[in-house]
């Protein structure tokens, strides 16, 4: 390949993701800002001033921060010991547990919300906190555990030989080493809970709302686009600050990992104390993660006269005129179709971005740019699409492709985060070896980078598919009423009183749960290396 062609290829690698980002993210967000700041052609800080001074809205903002903080602290407290158990000890089934722990993360927030409702945990702050713990457990376990698994256990041993007690060795050697991962996990969890939508919508009830749900309320129910835009801007600013902090804290450790599992540092559980610790954590995980799901599935089979599949049948029988405009099979098909398209989009854009990031020097900037959608919240994305993409040549409001694009936007940061570490870990010596054996640069790419990357891309694709499947925040804005996805259907069913509709909601949730779980288990089985950061 001539260097000219190589340069063009590299430009495309960076250009396509950035173009995608520019059109489908920057443009809508800028439109939002415009709508909020200069609605009639002149800069008018009125709406923002109104938002900032309105006491009820300030309460909303404060609550958003407060619940996010509490959620983060709770998740760290529970997640860090769990990270140790899953990363550093080896017991029968530890691999399976590690795989399953990630399933809750991709579950649709609506499903989880309804599961908690089924458990009888009604709308309250406590319900929100526990639901957030449910979702973000995996973030802490995988992020902190991912680093922990690669720490050399001999460093702690060395400290103990030099006279430090076990606890001291932990606080003096291991904890400082874990600090980057803990801070990164904390930042990510805070980000997710700050912009949490589905959970707060379903479990917050009328008394608890965050900036995110407020934007939705203003847009979809009060039709006050200006206030919604102003709120979005406030949230955007807060998230930007958060993202900068996240970037600083997580850093980019370029570690040339060997492409082998980190099971070398895991050891068998010894001693009674340790057994109790491990068992306790596993029991907690089982209850925390398993109970809501189990209840959900169980409730889906409960009917007014005992156990049966009536709820599933009811799903099929509810005609238009009530809640569903379409039969549930269509909703399932819609979900699957959108998810597949979104997965492909996310893989192409995210994959190109990953390759670009690994090969350019200003990697941090590109990575940060592509991670923005993650922080900016699905509702803002959905909202932005609505008000921005409504004029030619980009009048996509009635196009079906809008939903997958929004879903892809949410999934792309994950694709990038999952693929880049694997690409970075490819030992440059492998490429050199290939060159000395006669492989020209393009062949090197095909023989070395691509096979190794394709595994990572497969994992990322499965992740993207599951995320798209459960995406709610943007989809609820953008899906046409006659083409809803499963999460939207569930939400509609939950909004209707009556045990039949509730039962049907449980049934639909169970179906969605199964679809998501299948794709995650497939993903985890295909993993090549324990490069465990999202």
């Amino acid at each position: 390949m001539t260097s000219r062609a190589a340069q063009l290829a590299r430009a495309a690698m960076i250009g396509v993701p950035l173009a995608f980002l520019a059109v489908f993210f920057v443009y809508p967000v800028v439109t939002i800002i415009g709508r909020g700041l200069w609605p009639d052609g002149t800069i008018d800080l009125g709406p923002i001033a109104d938002v900032v001074t309105d006491p009820s809205l300030r309460q909303v903002a404060w609550f958003t921060v407060w619940q996010a903080t509490l959620s983060t602290v709770l998740t760290l407290a529970v997640g860090i010991p769990a990270a140790y158990v899953l990363a550093r000890t080896r017991f029968p089934g530890s691999g399976l547990v590690r795989s399953l722990v990630v399933v809750p993360f991709v579950l649709p927030t609506v499903v989880v919300g309804s599961a908690f409702l089924a458990l009888g945990i009604g709308p309250s702050l406590g319900a929100i906190l526990v639901a957030h713990l449910f979702f973000n457990y995996a973030v802490v376990v995988r992020t902190v555990g991912g680093l922990w698994a690669h720490l050399d256990p001999r460093q702690e041993d060395a400290a103990r030989m030099l006279g430090a007690s076990r606890v001291r060795a932990f606080t003096a050697v291991t904890l400082p080493a874990l600090r980057p991962a803990i801070l990164a996990a904390a930042a990510i969890v805070f980000l997710f809970t700050f912009t949490s939508f589905g959970v707060v919508l379903v479990l917050g009830g009328p008394t608890h709302s965050t900036l995110e749900t407020e934007v939705y309320r203003q847009t979809a129910q009060l039709l006050d686009l200006q206030t919604a835009a102003a709120l979005s801007i406030v949230q955007l600013l807060a998230v930007l600050v958060l993202l900068v902090v996240t970037e600083r804290l997580s850093g980019h450790r370029v570690v040339a990992l060997t492409l082998r599992g980190a099971t070398a540092t895991a050891r068998r559980v010894r001693g009674l104390g340790e057994r109790v610790f491990v068992a306790g954590n596993l029991a907690l995980a089982l209850i925390l993660l398993g109970a809501p799901i189990a209840v959900l599935v169980a409730r889906s089979f409960e009917t007014s006269y005992g156990i049966g599949v009536d709820n599933y049948r009811a799903l099929g029988e509810l005609q238009s005129g009530s809640v569903l405009f379409v039969p549930p099979e269509d909703a399932i098909l819609n979900s699957l179709e959108y998810a597949v398209v979104a997965m492909c989009l996310a893989l192409v854009v995210g994959g190109l971005a990953a390759f670009a990031i690994v090969r350019t020097r200003r990697a941090g900037a590109i990575d940060a740019a592509l991670t923005l959608p993650l922080g900016v919240s699905a509702v803002t994305v959905g909202f932005g699409f609505l008000i921005a993409l409504d004029e030619p040549p980009l009048d996509l409001r009635s196009e079906w492709i809008l939903v997958p694009i929004a879903q892809a936007l949410v999934a792309i940061p994950f694709v990038v985060r999952l693929t880049t570490p694997v690409l970075r870990a490819i030992d440059p010596r492998l490429r050199e070896a290939a060159a000395t054996l006669g492989a020209p640069p393009r062949r090197v790419w095909r023989e070395i980078d691509l096979p190794i990357a394709s595994r990572a891309l497969a994992v990322a694709g499965g992740f993207a598919f599951a995320i798209a499947l459960g995406e709610f925040g943007a989809t609820v804005f953008l899906a046409r009423p006659d083409r809803p996805t499963l999460p939207v259907v569930i939400y509609r069913l939950l909004g209707q009183p009556g045990s039949t509709t509730f039962g049907a909601a449980m049934a639909a949730s169970t179906i969605l749960l199964i679809l998501a779980a299948i794709s995650m288990v497939v993903v985890e089985r295909a993993r090549v290396a324990d490069t465990g950061v999202f």
């Binding site: 492409l259 030992d427 010596r429 054996l437 006669g438």
Partner: protein
């Protein structure tokens, strides 16, 4: 080759003939790896040329130079099995997959790994990985095969065994080899010629007996374990027959009850078939002049602190640059 202010390799002139094995021996940091990488084209030399049969390779990128390089940590491809690795170079040269695999199997047999085709790289032992890396580099029969400390990570016994096998294999294939190492035994054991590298320069090059028997510079002598002695006082001068800096082989010095030089034993180390005894030779004023190592065959050598007398056998003395023959007394 320059890296900023550091000159890594300087003033090097080595020629490898067809089918010849040239060892490059030098301590860590002497520029050995840099040399190989420059020849392979993985790093551009600041000045100088790499010629193959007279043709300058500077215009060719690494994949067109027809040179083989076996890395220190072998850099095997983890996503391919053993056969896939060995056949890689053959596939890059064109030719069908079937031919490549057949030749790869042949090579695996030759390195003693017949039947290992489908094994995963990660399941192999260190020695087995080494052999796969070797087979991979040898399979395409490059014009020159370069080995960068290939046996470094193995234990002594395995190393000795492999170095013999390696030499025999390369000779049977008529493969030209440039073998880089810091281990004396390897370098002298395998090379048709040995080059001693120091701070990026070749201090001496010649066949093993020549280099070993007659070091050309103070560095080479010291590196090979000779005593480097500045024979500037008359007693020493008379014994070694030269004035100036000379090299004296440890076994050319012996303890003798009447020996002309006297000194004190400072340390002694057991070396399998002899003891290495360090003696500080006193000058005429009694102040220590120089310390020399003696190879003493006696299983009961003198203890530390004992006064001894030392005799020099002139056959084991080599004049280094700058020394002159002492006038006969």
């Amino acid at each position: 080759m320059r890296y900023g202010d550091v000159v890594a390799v300087d003033d090097l002139d080595v020629t490898v003939a067809d089918g010849e094995i040239v060892s490059v021996l030098g301590p860590s940091g002497s520029g050995k790896s840099t040399l190989l990488r420059a020849i392979a084209g993985l790093e551009p030399p600041t000045s100088g040329r790499v010629l193959r049969d007279g043709a300058d390779l500077a215009v060719l990128p690494p994949h067109r130079r027809d040179l083989g390089l076996m890395f220190q940590d072998h850099a095997l491809f983890p996503h391919r099995d053993v056969l896939g690795n060995v056949a890689f170079g053959l596939r890059m040269r064109g030719g069908s997959r079937r031919d490549a695999e057949r030749d790869a199997r042949d090579m695996l047999e030759r390195v003693g790994l017949g039947g290992y085709d489908r094994r995963s790289i990660t399941q192999l032992s260190g020695g087995e990985q080494q052999r796969v890396a070797l087979a991979r580099a040898l399979a395409p029969a490059p014009a020159l095969l370069m080995l960068d400390e290939p046996l470094g990570a193995l234990d002594r016994q395995l190393r000795e065994q492999l170095v013999t096998e390696l030499g025999a294999l390369c000779r049977s294939l008529g493969q030209s080899v440039l073998f880089v190492t810091h281990d004396h035994d390897e370098a002298f054991g395998i090379g048709d010629r040995v080059a001693i590298l120091h701070d990026g320069r070749v201090e001496q090059i010649g066949d093993p007996g020549e280099v070993w028997g007659a070091p050309a510079t103070a560095f080479v002598a010291a590196f090979l374990g000779w005593n480097v002695v500045d024979a500037s006082d008359s007693a020493l001068e008379e014994q070694v027959g030269h004035r100036g800096v000379v090299a004296v082989r440890p076994d050319a010095l012996s303890l003798s009850p009447t020996g002309p030089l006297d000194g004190v034993v400072v340390t002694r180390t057991f070396r399998r078939d002899h003891w290495l005894v360090r003696v500080e030779l006193g000058g005429p004023t009694g102040a220590a002049v120089t310390a020399v190592d003696l190879a003493v065959g006696d299983p009961q050598p003198p203890t530390v602190g004992a006064r001894v007398c030392v005799r020099v056998d002139r056959d084991g003395v080599v004049a280094l640059p700058g020394a002159a023959r002492a006038p006969e007394a």
